[in-house]
């Protein structure tokens, strides 16, 4: 870590895991001159009450950020890419009605 040597310091993002196997969740951040003190401060801020099973401490500058709306919120309907896939409820209803009408004929 470059600034660990220069001692200019920086912001460290802290992620915590409450129990073994839980997802790592962003807890907050600490200001620290280097990785060693960042670890101490993360422990004091996010672990001193025994509330964390594991912490990840990441220099903010090591994080690659993507927040371009053209890439993340494109101006077209992309609902077909959602995990739910196509919404077929209304198609099903129409098919059932059609089947009922045909049976009634």
């Amino acid at each position: 870590m470059n600034h660990a040597q220069t001692g200019t310091g920086g912001i460290w993002e802290v992620f915590r895991q409450e129990d073994d196997g839980d997802p790592m969740v962003h807890a907050g951040n600490v200001n620290a001159p280097d990785e060693e003190l960042a670890m101490h401060y993360a422990r004091e801020f996010y672990g001193r009450r025994g509330e964390s099973h594991r912490l990840w401490i990441v220099a903010r500058e090591a994080i690659t950020e993507l927040d371009d709306p053209d890439l993340l919120k494109p101006p077209f309907d992309r609902s077909h890419k959602k995990p739910g896939g196509y919404i077929i409820k209304h198609k099903l209803d129409a098919a059932k009605q059609r089947a009922a009408t045909e049976a009634g004929e």
Partner: protein, 258 residues
Amino acid sequence: MTTARVELEVPVRDALAGLLLSVADDEFVIGFWDSEWTGIAPMLEEDVATSSIAQDELGHAKALYELLAELTDDDADRIAFGRETDAYRHAALLNHARGDWAFSVARRYLYETADGVRLASLARSAHEPLALLAGKMRREETYHLLHADAWFRRLADGAPEGRDRLRDAVECLWADAQDVFAPLAGEDLLVRDGLLPEPMHELHAAWLARSRPILEPLAGDLADRRPSADGRTRRTDDFAWLHGEFTMVARSEEGATW
């Protein structure tokens, strides 16, 4: 421990009580000195860390006072807050006011290294409640030492002003630091029965072997000094002031329950 009280001969029990009191008072007094940094430490994160470590030390003191209170059929709060200054048995190292940041770092480094050696021994004490407690304390003190060491190296390897202040503090505290290992009353009985697995002079030698190589590149050759006989009974005006602070609330309404 009711059983311990029954099993131990009176002179051994008294010596054990003296040992417990010495460790408890060390943790209690350094906890109060370091808590003085709350609100004024070098940066917010360090403020929280120092305050939390100081609280840890007070927590260790509480556990030790409770152990002592069981042994002597006393009350932990009374032992902690109900004594006059001359009845405290902390090492002379802890008689000094907190000083500047380098002074507090130097003292914590000296104390944590000495305490580490002492706890490693106490974790093997034949007095099981003490061995268990010392084992638990060690898990936390390992982290305290890492924190003190991180700051010690930062100042020692950093800009000249910090380095000079740290060196001055080590030189100022060196003689009194030996007294963490000041001989205890009845120590021969404690060693005989395995309550204190090694005599203080052996623990002292072990501490010197570990701390000198770290301290001397900064402070130059440090004088050979033996722990002094009054190393846990000398008191100072600085401590009298601190005692006034930490007993103030307890004295405002004696015997109050909160």
